[in-house]
């Protein structure tokens, strides 16, 4: 009996070790597939961090929860003059932040606003709908390239492809009027964003972002966070129609 127990413990250890090796070598999780065999990312998702306030590590302040930051290594490689502008943005953030004017927040900022978004997936196109200012993203995964241009868009132009279980989205054609957060982190119209959405398990997606902008940063830099599936029974997108046009600024727009 004792010998058999020891044997089975050994076998279990071998199995566990084998699993660990497998986990290190290959994705531990294989996402369910859509009809065309791609990982199915559909559902209602939301980031659960403080990046919308400040993508870098920060202490708490009034109405701002503290956060460890989502920037890899925490430092953003601003060119010297750009760092000065970032600091000025921070000092004047109450009026300069485009969010205060209810503008479309750009990518990646829309992905970690504290509101849910929903992914719908078709062969050739992924549609992302956001509760925040009813923003939309259409990510074309049909092999098409970015349109000729430069085009000044708030949300950029998104073209996606699959690398294994990871959706890789290349985003260009931004204007220079959006920020990354409420802390004044900014970019120019040369912003180039590469997003990587990797299913972690049924209810989590790892969201990695590479940012480059030769006018503002001295080298590319990265952010990483997890997107969480909203599993509440009645989860659905509502509206947060921030209004910033004429006589006053409302957030959200008054509904009655």
């Amino acid at each position: 009996m004792r010998i058999r127990l020891r044997d089975s413990l050994v076998s279990m250890l071998v199995v566990v070790a084998g699993l660990s090796v497998a986990a290190a070598q290959a994705p531990a999780y294989r996402a369910p597939r859509t009809a065309d065999g791609k990982p199915d990312l559909s559902g209602i998702w939301q980031a659960m961090n403080t990046a919308s306030f400040d993508i870098q590590a920060h202490s708490a302040s009034k109405d701002v929860p503290a956060g460890v930051g989502v920037v890899e290594g925490n430092d953003i490689p601003y060119q010297p003059s750009a760092l000065a502008k970032k600091r000025e943005n921070f000092a004047k953030r109450a009026t300069l932040d485009p969010e205060t004017k209810c503008y479309l927040p750009g990518v990646p900022r829309i992905m970690y606003m504290p509101h849910p978004f929903q992914i719908f997936q078709k062969p050739g196109q992924i549609t992302m709908l956001f509760e925040y200012v009813h923003a939309t993203r259409f990510i074309y995964t049909n092999g098409t390239k970015h349109p000729e241009g430069h085009i000044d868009w708030w949300m950029g132009d998104s073209r996606g492809r699959w690398e294994g279980d990871t959706l890789v989205v290349d985003v260009v054609d931004f204007n220079e009027d959006t920020w990354f957060d409420r802390a004044g982190n900014y970019h120019s119209d040369e912003l180039h964003v590469v997003e990587r959405f990797t299913p972690l398990d049924a209810d989590h997606i790892t969201y990695d972002v590479t940012v480059e902008d030769a006018k503002v940063f001295s080298r590319p830099w990265r952010m990483s966070m997890v997107l969480y599936r909203n599993r509440d029974k009645n989860a659905q997108l509502l509206e947060y129609d921030c209004y910033g046009f004429d006589e006053a600024f409302h957030a959200p727009a008054q509904s009655q």
């Binding site: 708030w154 659905q236 509206e239 910033g244 004429d246």
Partner: protein, 291 residues
């Protein structure tokens, strides 16, 4: 005016007997051109049977746009619209008349509401206050049904869900088909809360939780937060949808009323960004200038 409006509204609330509201009576005289039986619109292609999606829905996917010559200036008075557009642009637009019931093509306001609608109409060229300006002109969302005669839109279908994405103002509607109840009535939404189901080749959508801020046209066309819409999207051929929206609002209208819009299939194109107020300098100017 605001006090008068509130007073009239109070009176209206007192005198309206909600139980008297029922389905629209069938037209007694010969129906006007364009009138169709909402429950059974004739098929453009009599042999047409809508193909099915893998989960069994009639396939309504694609890109569509209204082909009923409706411009949102006035859905009640297309001659006024024609005159206005001719004056502005020198071009005489076609005139669409979407309201098929009642047969006079007018919104059947309660008497007090008729007066307020007339006031908004007077105000629309040079409003004395911003709240008398068309909410869409101010950058708010359109609401249902107005968004459906605004421009081009795409329909995508998924198991249990129909999704509308509109070119104008990146507006979208997620319509679940699983008979789930509307959200609590305390939740008011610009685009309402949509719940759908299929009846044959007709997508029926019940739209509740509407706020009282959207208009049906530039010259007014208001409603209260009791506004409720039932839409019927019927495929009558591969490239044609009859769209019927029956509207009720016991606080503002004397009876439910119905508008019809014919939708034609369009070539599917990428939906590019349609920002509305972004980049417009008016907010800074009006707010006193931040820069």
């Amino acid at each position: 005016m605001a006090k008068l409006f509130l007073g009239l509204l109070t009176i209206a609330l007192l005198v309206v007997d909600v139980s008297a509201q029922g389905p629209p009576p069938p037209p007694k005289a010969a129906p006007p051109p364009g009138w169709i039986d909402p429950r059974n619109p004739p098929k453009e292609d009599p042999s047409f049977k809508a193909p099915r999606t893998p989960d069994g829905q009639p396939r309504i996917e694609g890109e569509w746009a209204q082909a009923s010559d409706i411009i949102t200036y006035s859905i009640e008075d297309p001659e006024l619209e024609r005159a206005e557009h001719t004056a502005i642009s020198g071009q005489r637009p076609m005139v669409g008349r979407p309201i098929i019931d009642p047969i006079d093509g007018k919104i059947p306001y309660l008497p007090w509401a008729m007066k307020y609608a007339a006031f908004l109409h007077e105000e629309h060229r040079k409003p004395s206050a911003l709240k008398y300006l068309d909410p869409v002109s101010r950058g708010f969302q359109e609401g249902v049904p107005r968004i459906n005669y605004q421009g081009t839109f795409q329909i995508q279908q998924f198991p249990g869900t129909v999704l509308f994405t509109y070119d104008y103002h990146h507006t979208y509607r997620v319509i679940p088909l699983d008979n789930r109840p509307h959200v609590n009535q305390n939740v008011k939404l610009w685009m309402g809360n949509s719940r759908g189901h299929w009846e044959g080749d007709t997508l029926v959508v019940d739209v509740a939780n509407n706020n009282d801020q959207t208009w049906l046209q530039i010259v007014g066309g208001f409603h209260s937060d009791a506004f409720h819409v039932v839409e019927r999207w019927t495929l009558t051929s591969a490239d044609h949808i009859v769209y019927l929206a029956t509207v009720d609002d016991a606080k503002v209208y004397s009876r439910p009323w119905t508008l019809r819009v014919d939708m034609r299939r369009q070539k599917v194109e990428e939906q590019w960004e349609s920002a509305i107020w972004e980049g417009n300098k008016t907010p800074e100017i009006v707010a006193g200038g931040d820069k």
